[in-house]
Structures are given as C-alpha cells and as structure tokens.
C-alpha cells in the first residue's frame, strides 16, 4: 500500500519536502513507517525520534496499524502559543 506523509517545520526542512509517500506492506505499523522514513531520508535519522506521528489528526503510538486512506503527519515538538 502507499502511505502519504505530511512534513512540517524542521522535519520538512531536513527532508526538503512538505509531503512524500512510502510503499509499505499491508499491516505495517507506525514503527515500520518510522524505519522507512529514516531509510529514505537519512537527514531525519536523529530528528525523527523526537517527533510524534499523527494518524488522522491524532497522535498515534508506534504499534498503530496503518491503512492506505489514513492521513499521516510527522509532528516535530510543537512550539505554538
């Protein structure tokens, strides 16, 4: 399946793109996605562990199972307010 991922702030800047996609096996989890991200974007390797992954606009744990239609985002530590 193809999972689309949105990137923000320093994650976007380090990856050089605001959105990208990954080809993952059916049943892949957030943990698998994290591995795929680091493989394709080595510049995110030391930064991604500090980021949360959002699935359908809510923070998702690493064992969350992904599906193709979900909206996924890489959420660096926030600094709004």
């Amino acid at each position: 399946m193809i999972v689309w991922v949105k990137l923000f702030a320093a994650a976007r800047q380090r990856a050089g793109t605001p959105a990208t996609n990954f080809s993952l096996a059916e049943g892949a989890t957030v943990r698998d996605l994290r591995a795929a991200i680091v493989q394709e974007y080595p510049t995110l390797a030391d930064f991604l562990p500090h980021c949360r992954i959002a699935v359908d606009r809510d923070f998702a744990p690493d064992d969350h199972v992904l599906t193709e239609t979900q909206e996924v985002g890489i959420i660096p530590p926030v600094s709004g307010g």
Binding site: F8, A9, A10, A54, D58, P76, V78, S79, G81
Partner: protein
Amino acid sequence: MIQLVHEPIDTQAILAAAAHPHAGAVVLFLGVTRQLTAGRETESLDYECYPEMAICKLRELEEQARAKWPLLHCVVVHRLGHLEISEASIAIAVSSPHRRAAFEAGQWLIDTIKEVVPIWKQENWQDGSREWVHPGTGLPKAT
C-alpha cells in the same frame, strides 16, 4: 470559538465574543513576540501549522476545558505566518460566572496548547540566522 488567522489578532472582537450576561469574569491571555529570549535578540517570528489537525486539537481542548470548568465562552485564536516584535501570536479568552474558573481554564489552555497543538515557531534572530523552535530536542539547528 476556534480560529487560525493570518492577520493581526483583533482583541476587541475576541473580548466581545467572550462576553455573556451570566459572566462575572473574563480572562484574556495574549502570547506576544518577545524581543529577548535567553539574552538573544529576536527580529521577528514565523509560525507554521498543520491546520486540519490544529483545528481538531483546539476543538478537543475547548471541549476538555468546558468539561473541567463551567465556562460560558471559550475563544482561542492563533495567528500564523510572519509576526513582528510585540505582536500577539495567540489570544485565549474565557468567561465564567466566577473568576477562579476563568483563570484556571485560561492557564490550562495555554499550557496544553503548547504541548499538543501542531503549530511551530521559527525564530528569525537579529543576527540573520533562522531557527525552528522544537523544545526538548537539543539537536544542532536545522539550516
């Protein structure tokens, strides 16, 4: 009321939105662009956002605040884009029959927004460098 705006925040409109005949207290919090952070001088700020999720999260927080305190109105407006010194990046206004609830809810909202709402600040330092603010990463700056 939850809003993400790209223009200066209209505090009068926000206070008007928080007014209620049963209100005895209104607390307005403004987060403003500070000139000095840990001794370094800021020239301006830029705010970036994941808007769909930010709106969802802000609505959740409004709901949670209303469950915790007897609020009459709860208004949160966050500004995005480029901000100069002394401009407000966020305004939170809550009204309640008694003041303690309004103070507590206002403080809880800003504390929690700073933890869970996907909005990011970029410091544009006076020396020309730029830096995303990502609390707790302790990493070398992104270029």
